[in-house]
Amino acid sequence: MSTKTLPGRGDTHEQGTAGPERSADRRHSVRRGTARRRQARAAWILAAPFLALFAAFMLLPVVWSLLMSLTDTQSADLRTPLNVSFIGLDNYVRLFQDDQFFTALRNTAVFVLVALPLTLAAGLAAAVALDRGIRRFRAVFRVGFYLPVITSIVAVAVVWKTLLEPRAGLVNLVLGWFGIDGPAWLADTRFALPVMIVMAVWRNLGTVMIIMLAGLQSVPQSLMEAAELDGAGAWQRFWRVTFPLLRPALLLTAVTTGIGYLQFFDEPFVMTGGGPLDSTLSATLYAYNQFGNGNYDMASAASYVIFVLIVALTVLQFRMLRDKD
């Protein structure tokens, strides 16, 4: 919107700065001024299409959503969004008086705190094993570990639902071979959430693995040899040489995976609808349900709570994993 008026405005003051100096100098700085202006104009032309879409479909909705969370939308006509009544933080107060929201927050917290470290550890272990252990067929392993990442969550949900089917599913068949009588998994309040944690680790460790594998391969061989000459064992070499070099990559994957996990939604939505007995109800699913029931204000408030949690987790991860120096 406002971008249209901006091109070229960037450096107009430069013209004045040339002042009454010698003419060569002046010509030079004027030319540099036009070059800069040309550059700024090009930059805004390149930026304008993105920023227009971004303003319409990102910034506007973000602000609108914040306003919605502070209003009572029950009686409002959303086609004229300005005609609503502000009620301050009432929606947030109502949110935190709702036991179901706390259940959803607790489930989300358990999911993130268990699944995130497991995903990072499994991805890192797979990367190290693949880097050390496998020369031939490495591509086969890489594709196999990455396959779940590129699979549609709906397809994943459908397949796992049939895998976990108590009587005709593969999981309980295999458990039966070991004499274990498998539970009803998704219909059991004790197992539904852990199953989704396992699914999440299975689905996402491939991303961590690929980034870590690239990181491992960029560790200079000479560094490892020098450490070996200094008498460092394999374990020491990993923690003292390799791991510090992997830290930026680990931070990136921890942050992005963490953001994704805090919005944990698709699996419970498709597989359990949040049940049984709210045992897989996540914070985003709670917000979505509010949206589905027409409580747009509550949905917005809940999603802003999740947003705050995401910011908190990200800041925490930067504190924990940033380079010490």
């Binding site: 960037g10 550059q39 700024a40 090009a42 930059a43 390149l46 930026a47 299409p49 993105f50 920023l51 879409l53 971004f54 319409a56 479909f57 990102m58 910034l59 909705p61 973000v62 919605m68 797979a126 094993a129 693949l130 050390r132 252990g133 496998i134 020369r135 031939r136 591509a139 392993f141 890489r142 196999g144 990455y146 779940p148 590129i150 699979t151 969550i153 709906v154 397809a155 949900a157 459908v158 397949v159 796992w160 049939t162 005709a168 593969l170 299975w202 690929i210 690239a214 990181g215 805090l262 919005q263 698709d266 498709v270 949206f291 949905a299 917005s300 999603s303 999740i306 947003f307 995401i310």
Partner: protein, 295 residues
Amino acid sequence: MSTLSTLRTAHPGTDRALRRRHIRRTWGHPWLFVPLAGALLLMIAPFLWMLSGSFKPEADIRRVPPVLIPTAPTTANYGELFSTLDFTSMFANSVIVALAVTAGNLIFCSMLGYALAKLEFRGQRAVFLLVMGTLMIPGLVTFVPLYVLVANMQLTGSLLGLILPFLAGPFGVFLMRQFISTLPDELIDAARVDGCRELAIFGRIILPLTKPALATLGIITFLGSWNNFLWPLVVAQNESQYTLPVGLALASSGQSFTRFGILLAGAVVVLLPVMIVFLLFQRQFVAGIATTGLK
């Protein structure tokens, strides 16, 4: 060969050492192969189950305990998928939406990415921080107003409503900016000295050099759009706008469990195109992910 045989006669023990080194160089550590192969089997077991289930006749599907290999493999599930669920038009919708979204992101994100990485303009830092800041905002925050917005634009009845909100995302800007800033400045300066115009520098010099990053962004965006579920589920109003995941999800919730042969066939159809795309561009993809992750 001759050195090997001389060594062998001189030091009988080195033969084994040499062989071990040879094995290590070509195979790596054999003892790690076993746990990794086991892990690989666990990773792909659901896919094998999906594939076998999609070819199972009704009789095998109802069998307790289940069979792993279909007794009489059949393609009936696939046939029924396309005849009764109209997977053909859903497939077409998924392709159209994914291609449009991918094209939009490649164009708009590389343009802004270049401006942020290599051009100087006032407000650069503010634009960068603003765009990057939204990376952390959960999709659900924008979901409700976006829905109202798209509904007000009367786009809920067309594919455009599925495409428009996703044409330009912040992740693409991040990826393109990261990549383009690794290109040498001298290249751009030289072009300027030669009298190349600013926009031509982007089109003729930068864009051809960013192919690896464009490939990565293209694959990520295509996969993301292909697998996108929630937005099309809510916005698509009738079956003519359903994408594959929406059709599959609705089929799985509507029908009883005994139809799972058809659902698994549907899962195969949803997966197959992205698998082909991934296998074709695997190398560029991995290289691109690595650059974003490490820089």
